[in-house]
């Protein structure tokens, strides 16, 4: 009794998106646009983070408005350890995941006592606390953030190589995508999705729902921690702005744009949002007044773009394809 597969159009879209992302560095070097690699590494990192958030938001109906906090933890783990001369990526990874898991356990255990609007607000409050904690860390650059002395050292993997960094991010994205695909169909995933649909019934059937929701929250946070580590390595820079509340908001927008509660949706949403952002802010059509107008007001235009997608497609770009009758 497998669940019905997604319609062909959705599978085709997913395949093209993943293959397209795999080819970006090749195309960039063929067309002499090395900048694309950086742009798309950012897209992959945000896809990863959005996918992490989507586990609780889309599959568990837990609207966390504070997941940027975990991007921050990942980034600062790299930044602070590197500042103290610890460049080993393995150590950084262990510390980042360890701290991330502890924070997520504590924050999740408190936040999950609430639901709905209260949950949104309390997750935001925790993220803001961490944001201002980072701002107050004078030694590590405070408000301005700090430059990394070196990128994480993973043995033979040299993250200074932009193409290699890209493929590390891509491999991680695929690994998490496959892992989540297994997860959402497993017993654990059924419990999580059951809680999304009817938590009361889950309890009355005998599920202690809190522990499952908390586990999902921690897993989701750890994926964002990984995204944060990649982000620090991409920019060689960490700053409190990585965990600004607007970042948490952007992650939600990406998920809704791509398709809430679908596996590919967050990738589609992150790609679409960041590409439109890039396209509008650097538009050069050769019509000076139009270019200036668009370049200056691209944020407003993005707002229109989001409203249009949500109004017309309702379930987001991929969600719309997946919900169509085959």
């Amino acid at each position: 009794m497998a669940e019905p597969a997604a319609p062909r159009a959705a599978r085709l879209f997913a395949g093209l998106l993943l293959v397209g992302l795999a080819l970006v560095p090749v195309l960039a070097s063929l067309l002499g646009q090395p900048f694309w690699v950086t742009l798309f590494t950012r897209i992959l990192i945000f896809s990863l983070a959005a996918m992490g958030l989507n586990l609780v938001l889309g599959f568990g109906a837990m609207v966390s408005f504070g997941h940027a906090m975990y991007i921050g933890i990942g980034a600062y783990a790299v930044g602070i350890l590197s500042y103290h001369g610890i460049d080993s990526g393995f150590v950084q990874l262990a510390v980042a995941l360890g701290v991330g898991a502890l924070v997520a356990l504590a924050v999740g255990a408190i936040c999950l006592r609430t639901s709905g609007m209260a949950f949104i607000m309390i997750t935001l409050a925790f993220a803001q606390m961490l944001f201002f904690l980072a701002v107050s860390l004078r030694e590590y650059g405070g408000d301005d953030g700090m430059q990394l002395k070196a990128r994480s050292q993973f043995g033979l993997l040299d993250l200074n190589n932009a193409t290699l960094l890209y493929y590390v991010a891509y491999a991680l994205l695929l690994a998490v995508l496959y892992g989540f695909w297994r997860l959402v169909h497993s017993r654990f995933g059924m419990v999580l999705r059951g809680c999304r649909s009817n938590e009361r019934r889950m309890g009355s059937m005998g599920f202690p729902t809190l522990r499952y929701k908390l586990s999902a929250y921690v897993i989701s946070a750890l994926v964002c921690v990984l995204a944060g580590m990649l982000m620090a390595n991409l920019t060689r820079f960490v700053a409190p702005s990585y965990m600004a509340w607007t970042v948490s908001g952007e992650l939600i927008v990406m998920i809704v744009l791509g398709g809430l509660g679908t596996l590919i949706g967050p990738i589609a949403g992150a790609t679409a949002l960041l590409l439109v952002e890039e396209g509008l802010s650097s538009l050069k059509l050769g019509i000076p007044w139009l270019d200036t107008l668009v370049n200056q007001h691209w944020l407003a235009l993005i707002g229109i773009f989001i409203v249009l997608v949500v109004l017309v497609l309702k379930q987001g770009i991929y969600g719309w394809l997946a919900a169509r009758k085959a």
Binding site: R200, R201, M202
Partner: protein
């Protein structure tokens, strides 16, 4: 020892006494019906037995265990299963997935992240058995959203059975069913009675009097009579309060 014992149960909502010193004894294998006019506190009683509402006073003892303050999932694990008056199923899932999830609740922990639940025979086989009992086998792979009202009510019962509960708390299982569907449920309950202890809240009086070993009549949260269908039928105060004679408006 009774399978389920309720002693001096009291629940107040503000000034309203929703449950007023209720005592209830369910012998093992007994089908015990609770009847009463709308607003008598029947669902509130079930909510306290299933743990969604914690009573202000009194005790609930099931299988010798005091469950008065336990959360719903612990009571379900102890073998107390409930159905809902307003159908409460998982709309995103198929019929079989709904029943399999109920089985899963009692098939060890669910920290299993890799193997698809859909291919676990340990979940799907008991689920299919539960669906067969209510006559939903043919609809197993239908999304719940596509079911007719009566079928959703049948699934509601199948999910309680799929948990393997020893004691069933059924809140108006026949509400909104066609006569034919109700008849099927009556036949099902007749089969279940004996191996399961059943607390039945139901408005269909023909069904109640046909099935129940004993009845308790609840009026304004207070049990005014308990007895066999024969005894209840012949009690003047019950007739006055509930069964339609000399209704005070």
């Amino acid at each position: 020892m009774n399978h389920l014992e309720v002693r001096g149960l009291v629940k107040r909502f503000g000034g309203l006494l929703a449950t007023d010193h209720v005592d209830l004894d369910l012998a093992r294998g007994e089908l015990h019906a609770v009847i009463g006019p709308n607003g008598a506190g029947k669902t509130t009683l079930i909510n306290q037995l299933s743990g969604e509402i914690i009573p202000d006073e009194g005790r609930i003892v099931f299988d010798g265990q005091d469950l008065t303050r336990e959360p719903p999932h612990r009571r379900a694990m102890a073998g107390l299963g409930r159905s809902f008056q307003i159908t409460s199923v998982f709309n995103d899932f198929t019929v079989l997935q709904n029943a399999a999830l109920a089985v899963q609740a009692h098939a060890g922990h669910s920290f299993r992240f890799w193997r698809p639940a859909a291919v676990e025979a340990a979940l799907t086989q008991p689920a299919m058995a539960a669906l067969e009992q209510v006559g939903l086998t043919a609809r197993a792979h239908t999304p719940v959203a596509a079911l007719a009202h009566g079928e959703r009510r049948q699934l509601e019962i199948a999910m309680v059975l799929a948990t393997g509960a020893k004691c069933l708390l059924l809140d108006e299982p026949m509400a909104g069913m066609s006569p034919a569907e109700s008849e099927a449920v009556v036949a099902l309950l007749r089969r279940l009675k004996g191996e399961h202890t059943i607390l039945l809240v139901e408005h269909d009086m023909d069904a109640v009097f046909a099935l129940a070993d004993r009845l308790t009549v609840l009026v304004y949260g207070r049990p005014i009579a308990t007895g066999t269908p024969e005894q209840i039928r012949n009690q003047p105060e019950v007739r006055e309060a509930y069964l339609g004679e000399a209704e005070h408006l």
